[in-house]
């Protein structure tokens, strides 16, 4: 049970001229009991951040606090933190029971029978009691994963750190474990920092997600907030699958125009008032629109925002069709439509880009200038929390 704070935390590898900044001035606060997901592409510094919290990497600059006290210089063992590793990191020569008891033996003075009781009850909670006397080599991937969790839980730490714990499971097991892990964390109500590169995991599991790129924190927000109100172009493109469409454009008289290489009409998109207010005339921006907001073969779209387009590729996924279309006026975009809607490659269709769904980003800095309008979505809504 603890509040975890990262305060301007920086990690540099190497020194002098060839120093590499892996984590750059990251500040984030994880309230007691929160499930925070650190997400980002590989090499973004998320694992390094986690390892600094664990004490496996030194902190170059800044401070990490657990319940208000600085833990930068504490050795890992004294931080009251348990970690679940991607490889599970089980001790292959010990039984499951010994694996789970190891941490209690090394870091507590609990009497032996109490250690055993805790191992037993944790095993029961995770439904691995019958595995207790086996060795990791005799377990399936999913079972090992549970043991790794059990080894962390049995210590009853102030915080859990999880480093891509589900990435070695097959897809089906992964989604099962996702649900179970969330439930478990909610029941234990233990502060958790969870690292993943998988944005689906981030969206579905986190109370809040922290998106990192190039060592820099891009945004910390609830999943829906990050989805609907991305702080910048990177977040907008990273969260959501298929990713948001981006069209570079210039603002001209309350409308966006995109120049095109070949002759013909340029793409022109009149901005709704709220969006137009957010940008200055003559600036370069990026128009962002999520695939599911694009209407294909629209009848009732207002004509200003409807464009003639050719369907290039249709990728049916069953529940929906991912449609790649090229607007007659230039840009290509990806749209998702209902799986039952008939769209064929080669067809000419009318494509609608609704005015209330567009995002605008500064062309140079990438920061958000305008986000879509929302009527009644509770962006603070969280997952299973009561």
């Amino acid at each position: 049970m603890a509040r975890l704070e990262l305060d301007s935390v920086t990690k540099r590898f190497g020194d002098g001229g060839d120093a590499v900044v892996a984590v750059d001035d990251v500040t984030v606060e994880v309230p007691d009991g929160e499930f925070l997901v650190l997400v980002g592409p590989s090499g973004c510094g998320k694992s390094t951040t986690l390892r600094m919290i664990a004490g496996l990497e030194t902190v170059t600059d800044g401070e990490i606090r657990l319940d208000g006290s600085r833990i930068n210089d504490q050795p890992p063992a004294q931080r009251d933190i348990a970690m679940v590793f991607q490889s599970y990191a089980l001790y292959p020569h010990m039984t499951v029971r010994e694996n789970m008891r190891f941490g209690l033996e090394e870091s507590t003075d609990l009497p032996a029978d109490e250690q055993n009781d805790r191992v037993e009850s944790t095993a029961e909670m995770l439904d691995i009691t019958e595995l207790l006397d086996r060795k990791p080599g005799e377990l399936s991937g999913g079972q090992r994963q549970r043991v790794a969790l059990g080894r962390a839980i049995v210590r009853d730490p102030a915080a859990f750190l999880m480093d891509e714990p589900l990435s070695n499971l097959d897809a089906k097991l992964r989604s099962e474990m996702r649900t179970e892990l969330q439930q478990l964390q909610a029941d234990l109500d233990t502060t958790t920092v969870y690292v993943t590169h998988d944005q689906t995991e981030a969206m579905t599991m986190g109370d809040r997600i922290a998106i990192l790129d190039g060592g820099e924190l891009q945004q910390v927000a609830t999943p829906l907030e990050a989805y609907h109100r991305p702080a910048n172009r990177f977040v907008a493109g990273f969260i959501g699958e298929p990713s948001m469409n981006f069209v570079p454009a210039a603002v001209e008289g309350g409308a966006l125009t995109a120049r095109r290489a070949t002759a013909g009409d340029a793409f022109r998109y009149p901005l709704p008032a709220a969006a137009a207010d957010a940008v200055d005339d003559g600036t370069d921006v990026t128009l962002g629109i999520r695939p599911e907001d694009i209407v294909v073969d629209a009848v009732d779209v207002d004509p200003d925002h409807a464009f003639e387009a050719t369907v290039e590729v249709v990728e049916p996924t069953g529940s929906e069709n991912v449609v790649h279309v090229e607007l007659a006026a230039g840009p290509s975009v990806v749209a998702t439509v209902d799986g039952l809607q008939q769209v064929r490659a080669g067809e000419t269709v009318s494509v609608g880009i609704p005015g209330d769904a567009v995002h605008l980003f500064d062309a140079r800095s990438g920061s958000a200038l305008h986000s879509r309008s929302l009527d009644s979505v509770d962006l603070e809504s969280r997952r299973v929390r009561p």
Binding site: G68, Q219, R229
Partner: protein
């Protein structure tokens, strides 16, 4: 909603940063942390992985430092003293006399030349034989384990033992080598006999292998190759096994014959195996002593004398300690010139 700075609301970065600054100061001013802060450098040092690692590598490191590096340094010092006979070295009067003597000593030149011949021939032949054996064994054969075990067997024997075996093998009258030559040669002679000219092939080819100065060194190289080619086979086999099967299949689909496949696809990938095996063989060739010493004692004769034997003879038989130490330094320098580049390359490839 929809304000330009809307998205920023969700970002706690900015907000917490100022909070963090305040918290920092209170924490520092507050309580135990202040003390911890003061003790921190020392505590950090005590906890650092470096300090924790010393008990593990320190004692063995000390042994290596004293017995390897200390001893080599001391050896160099001794080589400068001119020490010989029964007394103790005088460290007050140092000179390079022993090294100058090396250049004038014809037996040193001979030993140096023989060492070079041994080093090159032995290394190359062992590598070639080992590679050939590895390629043959890698062809999915039956009884592979047994065959490999037999090929490597000589490597597990002491040179004292193998030298005794080979002395018997090379025995001019009853040795297996000459008996075999006589057997084959006799057959050839028998055939040639019909042409009415007696070439005497059998008698011409049997030799006193290890006493005839013409053959001594090569007889030794052959015996050492017998002992070490199994080692090369093991190293090459490991290298071959590390090459994915898909490459063999791809080469076959590309239409390469087995020979061309090995020459163009497989062997070039064995460079690392070749290099590491060659280094081990060369360094061994430099220090090969036991085998020659058992066969010839301290005097193999000019045609088979090598530096390692000469060093022992000069130092421990003639008690010319300083001169022996100087020869030892030459050996050390030669070993260094082999392993120095090797270790550097290993380091550059990140294999250390």
């Amino acid at each position: 909603m929809g304000r330009p700075d809307g998205p920023r609301d969700g970002e706690s970065t900015a907000g917490t940063r100022t909070d963090g600054g305040v918290a920092d100061e209170t924490a520092a001013g507050d309580l135990p942390d202040a003390a911890a802060g003061a003790a921190s450098p020392l505590a950090r040092l005590r906890r650092s992985e470096f300090v924790q690692s010393i008990p593990f590598w320190g004692p063995p490191g000390l042994l290596v430092l004293v017995f390897v590096y200390g001893a080599v340094g001391w050896n160099f010092l001794i080589s400068l003293t001119g020490w010989q006979g029964l007394g103790q070295p005088e460290y007050g009067d140092l000179s390079l006399g022993a090294y100058r003597r090396l250049f004038e000593d014809p037996s040193f030149a001979a030993a140096f030349r023989n060492t070079a011949v041994l080093l090159l021939l032995f290394t190359v032949l062992s590598l070639l034989l080992g590679l050939a054996l590895a390629i043959l064994i890698d062809r999915d054969i039956r009884f592979e384990n047994t065959i490999r075990t037999v090929y490597l067997l000589p490597m597990s024997l002491s040179f004292v033992v193998t030298a005794i075996f080979w002395r018997w093998m090379y025995n001019p009258v009853d040795g297996l080598i000459n008996e075999a030559i006589r057997g084959v040669g006799g057959a050839v002679d028998a055939v040639v006999f019909w042409t009415a000219v007696d070439f005497g092939v059998a008698d011409a080819l049997t030799q006193a292998w290890i006493s005839d100065p013409r053959f001594k060194l090569y007889a030794i190289i052959f015996a050492l190759m017998w002992q070490f080619s199994g080692y090369c086979m093991v190293v090459y086999l490991a290298g071959l096994r590390a090459i994915p099967t898909a490459q063999y299949e791809a080469a076959r689909i590309d239409g390469a014959s087995a020979v061309r496949m090995y020459l163009r696809v497989i062997v070039p990938q064995l460079r690392a195996s070749t290099m590491s095996a060659a280094v081990v063989l060369m360094v061994f060739a430099l220090k090969a002593f036991d085998f020659l010493f058992v066969l010839f004692g301290v005097n193999p004769g000019e045609s088979a004398d090598i530096l390692s034997v000469m060093m022992y003879r000069v130092a421990f038989d003639r008690r010319q300690w300083a001169y022996g130490a100087a020869i030892a330094m030459v050996l050390f320098a030669m070993a260094l010139s082999v392993i120095g580049p090797y270790l550097y390359l290993q380091h550059r490839r990140g294999d250390l």
